[in-house]
């Protein structure tokens, strides 16, 4: 565990009323998880435009987990708008040859300690497999080229 030089970083956008206290609950229970995880507290992730996610990958963030409140969302309609936006981000990621598993939308409650740790572990596996963002581009370009020539 830990974030040795070169290991990818996971950005977690955690909602202030659910997922952020959920992450605190993991701390209160002293459950360890990989240290290459960086949590930003947000009121509602619906605030971020599509480009925000793409820029994060441009900056070298390997994986992003959006930990929302899901159906518990205090802002009516925000979760649905967020889900739509994430779908559009997936389209843009595909266009850029980014593996869409690098971005995950999930919901974490204030006491969802196990779910929190699971999400982190799964993303950890994904970024280990994929390496730094953009490293999969080549393969998909090659794939596209191969598909064209066929």
């Amino acid at each position: 565990m830990g974030a040795p030089a070169g290991e990818g970083k996971i950005l977690i956008l955690a909602t202030e009323s659910c997922a952020y206290p959920g992450a605190d609950a993991v701390g209160q229970a002293h459950i360890t998880y990989p240290a290459n995880t960086y949590i930003l507290k947000v009121k509602a992730p619906v605030l971020f435009p599509e480009e925000f996610y793409l820029r994060c990958f441009d900056k070298g963030i390997s994986g992003i987990i959006v930990m929302s409140c899901g159906v518990e969302c205090p802002y009516e309609g925000a979760y649905e708008a967020l889900a739509k936006r994430i779908d559009r981000v997936y389209q843009l990621m595909k266009q850029r040859g980014l593996d869409i598993r690098r971005l995950r939308l999930t919901s974490i409650c204030t006491v969802c300690t196990r779910a929190f740790v699971n999400e982190v572990k799964q993303m950890q596996e994904v970024i280990r497999e994929l390496g730094p963002p953009g490293s999969e581009t080549k393969t998909s370009e090659e794939a596209a080229a191969a598909a064209e020539s066929a």
């Binding site: 565990m1 605190d24 002293h30 925000f52 900056k59």
Partner: protein, 640 residues
């Protein structure tokens, strides 16, 4: 270049960030190298100073920050410590006291999200990057003005037990209108079932009546019996509650024979039930209450022993302490031997810690899988007090107390213990894994029951005590208020009691500003402690409402008129009806459409931010630029 300018300490407005790192008495510094962190933090662009302290939340810790602000050394603050839910407010208020704007503050969570979950170098590394990110945001923070919203000079107290009564009277005396809600027909709560209160011996009925009289007389207090909260909405200063009132259920109805003739406005005390403060609802109805603060005084219920636990529910001679107190109250006042239901009670065995201090692996969990691992605190003194009453009123009735530890912790309570010894109450001590066994007697003891125990005071001697009656000193559990917990999103601790923001510094506040705790809904307490908490909650409520307005964090959307192109995409994206509107403004002699935020309606969710094509609308206190700066710092390869 920009960094150099920012570092200038010439009193200009360029951001000068101060970083304050907390050791948390070792909670952080045992896992994170705070010295290295401090050295590195000082080199972060825009940082003027980095300091550390054993406890940043302590007075000396806060003073470090305030001194740097006063001297002009810093004008943006980052504290790296526990979760912001604990101390963000503490530090914002320190900024304010030092004359700074409370919103030029950013918090780095390096305890719950670092030192408690990571160890060694990666922990220090992560802490550094979180601090860098916080500093990056702090450099972009602008002073903000809190929103002012008119506050209703009205308080609602839920629960009319002794704590609820106390809080209602205190609040009304301070000039607030008060709605006092009670789900039963009676005021007085659990105290109404008691006789005399330990350790001083005054009548429980008098304690209730003295407060109930004032509730009844006070023109500012409205009492709602048989009322349940079914709707809850709003924020501090402007909550609204919906009540469902119903005529009392058949089992709650008061037999008229039980009621002394009602005098002129004099409250009526019904033993074991409480005080009637006025007419009860005769038909179902809904009532809307608009209020400024809500005090929760929902109380406790005594632990119900499992069937068969120390013979409870199987042997009729086994009862709980609350049942015994009522029986003792109704028994003939004195005599040589206590008589209960015509039966002479010559020997009483009282067993402590029933349903309290339960140990996983030794005690059985309840139906929902819970163990009460906490001490209920009040049962030792209540048991000793009852034992003393028996011994002084009925000299021929012997009392045996079976205990694990005696915790007579409050003023006048140790004296009860000494008095019990003088009264020749016999104490036998047991280990939790070897509890007393309550058994049907074979007849040789001359009593219906015997209690066997391995007595630790005589080094494990097997002792057999004859008993006419076994009294179980049951602990306290929170009243079942799951409906309120769900409705009002109340935080509940591992012990199922309601959970305050901070056990020491903010002991009667809930995380939602304007919700307060009074009494045993929070933890086991005796009557003095419950009243103490109730008065504290009332003071806190009063100080929230006293100014006539409340200040809310100004984290709402704001339009940059220079950038706005009037596309209206924010209006379309907005989730709160009417929070953004398009208005005509004149720019360079031309009338154009621009977006305008109605602050009172804005939720601050930021749905508009993502939709704006020109980046003209931002949520104050968390702008996209600030998030981008944080991501830059996190993505950076700068190592601690």
């Amino acid at each position: 270049m920009e960094e150099k300018r920012n570092l200038a300490s010439d009193g200009s407005d360029a951001p000068r960030v101060g970083i304050y790192i907390c050791h948390c008495g070792g909670n952080i510094s045992d896992h994170v190298d705070v010295e290295v962190l401090c050295e590195k933090a000082e080199k972060i662009p825009g940082v003027a100073v980095a300091r550390r302290n054993m406890f940043m939340c302590s007075d000396p810790g806060q003073e470090l920050i305030m001194e740097d602000i006063r001297s002009g050394k810093v004008n943006r603050i980052v504290v790296a410590s526990c979760s912001p839910s604990l101390h963000e407010m503490t530090f914002r208020s320190a900024l304010e006291r030092a004359g700074a704007n409370p919103y030029v503050y950013e918090h780095a969570n390096i305890r719950e999200q670092v030192s408690w979950v990571h160890h060694g170098e990666p922990a220090t590394e992560k802490a550094f990057q979180l601090i860098s990110a916080a500093a990056a945001k702090a450099r972009l923070l602008e002073p903000l003005e809190p929103l002012r919203v008119e506050a209703r000079r009205h308080a609602t107290v839920i629960g009319a037990g002794i704590a609820g009564l106390r809080a209602a009277v205190d609040l009304a005396d301070r000039g607030f209108q008060v709605a006092l809600l009670e789900k039963t027909p009676f005021a007085g709560g659990r105290v109404a079932r008691l006789d005399r209160l330990a350790p001083t011996g005054e009548a429980a009925s008098e304690a209730i009546l003295s407060l109930a009289r004032r509730v009844m007389e006070h023109p500012a207090i409205t009492f709602y019996p048989c009322a349940q909260v079914v709707g809850f909405d709003g924020y501090v200063g402007n909550f609204s509650l919906e009540l469902q009132v119903e005529p009392p259920a058949a089992e709650d109805a008061v037999p008229p024979s039980n009621l002394p003739p009602a005098g002129d406005g004099e409250p009526v005390f019904v033993p074991s039930r409480g005080v009637l403060l006025g007419p009860l609802p005769t038909e179902k109805g809904r009532i809307q209450v608009e209020t400024g603060v809500v005090v929760l005084a929902t109380g406790f219920k005594p632990y119900t022993p499992r069937k068969g636990e120390y013979g409870y529910g199987e042997l009729p001679e086994v009862m709980t302490l609350p049942q015994f107190i009522e029986a003792l109250r109704d028994a003939q006042a004195d005599g040589s031997v206590l008589m209960l239901s015509g039966r002479p009670i010559r020997s009483i065995a009282m067993i402590h810690c029933v349903g309290s201090r339960q140990i996983p692996g030794i005690h059985e969990e309840d139906a929902s899988g819970y163990l009460n691992e906490y001490c209920s605190r009040t049962c030792c003194s209540a048991t000793l007090f009852a034992a003393n009453q028996v011994r002084t009123r009925y000299p021929e009735t012997r009392v045996f107390e079976f205990y694990r530890d005696i915790r007579a912790y409050g003023r006048g309570q140790e004296e009860l213990y000494q008095e019990a010894a003088r009264n020749k109450v016999l104490f036998l001590r047991f280990e939790p894994e070897d509890p007393p066994r309550v058994e049907r007697s074979d007849g040789s003891s001359g009593t219906p029951l015997v209690v066997r125990v391995k007595d630790a005071l005589t080094f494990g001697e097997e002792v057999q005590v004859p008993a006419d009656l076994v009294v179980l000193a049951v602990g306290m559990e929170p009243t079942g208020i799951q409906d309120l917990v769900d409705l009002m999103k109340l935080p509940v601790g591992a012990d199922r009691f309601l959970l305050e923001v901070h056990p020491k510094l903010r002991p009667v506040e809930l995380a939602t500003t304007g919700l307060l705790l009074a009494g045993t809904c929070q933890a086991p307490m005796d009557v003095s402690e419950a009243c103490n908490a109730a008065s504290a909650a009332a003071s806190k409520a009063a100080s929230l409402l006293a100014k006539g307005y409340v200040q809310l964090d100004p984290f709402v959307a704001e339009v940059d008129m220079e950038k706005c192109q009037g596309t209206g995409s924010c209006v379309e994206a907005c989730l709160a009806d009417g929070a953004i509107e398009l208005v005509d403004v004149v720019v360079n002699g031309e009338t154009v459409r621009r977006a305008r935020v109605v602050q009172a309606l804005c939720l601050g969710c930021g749905a508009c931010v993502a939709a704006c094509p020109s980046g003209a609308i931002q949520v104050k206190g968390s702008t996209l630029a600030q998030f981008e700066a944080m991501v830059d710092a996190i993505a950076s390869h700068e190592a601690a």
